[in-house]
Symmetry: C2
Subunit: 256 residues, 2 copies
DNA sequence: TTCCATTGAATGGGTGAACCATTTAATAAT
DNA sequence: ATTATTAAATGGTTCACCCATTCAATGGAA
């Protein structure tokens, strides 16, 4: 039987129609990143809607990362390069709404990172390895100078570089989305307790050299062990894993 | 060095502030799914902004799946249960914008499905297996009766059930996001050529019994082989993989 | 009483005109 | 030539109003 599945209907509203049409032009390749839409007043007139309604549509597309709206003469609505950070926003909302749990996110992260590491073993180029090595050096420096929060930023970058070295932006995007919240927990923990994982740079060097040698089994094992160690550190203080603290906190350099 | 990274700034606009405040209340747990925001006119007054600006914010949150707006007395803006389909929208936009490629998406899908299958071997409960078995029976029926497009819908459901049997909604969400576009290609292919994979139900039965026996290696191998076969089928006709066709097409039962 | 049609209030959906703020280029003053 | 001024284009915001939908209250008919 064709499985009768009834999605809730809601009356079609003008702004939805507009969003859809613009997305359609995108999908068809008529609109491309860098292109500019007509001024709001013109476009509203062309579509036969009021400027207010058009703006609701443009706003939604802007929030979705499809458009960027700039003021002033020479301003306007420009099609953006895709913003890979949008998936992070979705994940954050899901967590805020209680649709997913921190546990599920952490578990997913472990598996995704295992995949990333294994793919990196296959696909990492020398430039990727160099970038990782460079990152580790910066991590060491930050450690020596006691800049603990900078070190957390380095970690964040380390994972990004790792994901990039898989050569697959979809996987990189997924990894970032399951990593962002986690890094907030780490950041909060480090900021409040001042503790820091020891021998971090050494561990990373081992991992990178395993990747360089394309030793997937070893790389996977090292990453797994590291993740467990970090998890133990975070769980020492149960309060540190408070969802609300991590989500509500705004900190510099971290996109909302 | 702490890596000077300059994100583009853009003047803070009222609607952004509003979105952020509402998300903050969500993160803090003050607002929960099912809660209702004050009427637009009241809330606008409370926030000291015009109703139009407030509406831009509400629209954005609605598109993000955070709110649902209902008309009429007893209507209003309600906090939604998280909509796990938002990640699909992000993926679709990324593809439309050319930020990611079909190749990257397909590759990611192969790896994610491998992970899903392996996790299912560990976590699948009897109800999950029963649901899969039931799905396979419906697939068989659709095949016998020549309802090919229904059969594609069954496939879509099969993957969802598989993902659910991992017991991890994050992973299920990720799988769905890398699967939706692919199913559009399959749908377009089947709709245009009328060809259909042979012995589909049998293959699925083998897979499910491997999962039931918790034989991860076998299950992984079976899934891998199946994905390759499907890929070959799709690639027979290069035109069938046209991005624009698959993305622009709207079909019943598939959310936009 | 019970049931159904009518009505009216609450709420989101949508419009149009006006004004503000920012940005840029053209123009004028030095 | 350089710098200050001005004007035009564009998004940001407000206000006042009306429409469409929904649902509860009301009231008349069976």
């Amino acid at each position: 039987m064709p499985v009768p599945t009834f999605r809730p209907i809601h009356t079609r509203r003008a702004f939805e129609e507009i969003c859809e049409r613009i997305r359609e032009q995108l999908a068809l390749g008529v609109l491309k990143p860098g292109d500019k839409l007509p001024p709001e007043r013109d476009l509203a007139h062309q579509l036969g809607v009021s400027r207010n309604v058009l703006r609701e549509a443009l706003r939604s597309l802007e929030m979705a990362g499809v458009l960027r709206l700039l003021k002033g003469v020479k301003g306007g609505a420009f099609i953006q390069e895709g913003d890979t950070g949008r998936m992070n926003d979705v994940m954050r909302d899901m967590l805020s709404l209680g649709t997913i749990s921190v546990r599920e996110l952490s578990e997913a992260r472990v598996h995704v990172l295992d995949l990333v590491v294994r793919l990196a073993c296959v696909n990492a180029r020398q430039v990727d390895l160099d970038a990782l090595e460079d990152n580790i050096e910066r991590t060491e420096l930050a450690t020596k100078e006691g800049r603990l929060l900078d070190r957390v930023e380095c970690s964040r970058e380390f994972y990004r570089l790792l994901a990039n070295s898989t050569g697959n932006k979809v996987i990189a995007m997924i990894m970032d989305s399951v990593t962002e919240i986690h890094m907030r927990f780490v950041y909060a923990k480090v900021a409040s307790s001042g503790v820091a994982m020891s021998r971090l740079a050494d561990r990373r060097r081992q991992l990178v050299s395993a990747i360089a040698e394309k030793n997937a089994a070893l790389a996977s094992r090292l990453m797994g062990a590291h993740l467990e160690a970090v998890q133990r550190m975070l769980e020492q203080d149960p309060g540190a894993m408070s969802l609300h603290v991590a989500l509500a906190e705004v900190r510099p350099g971290m996109r909302r």
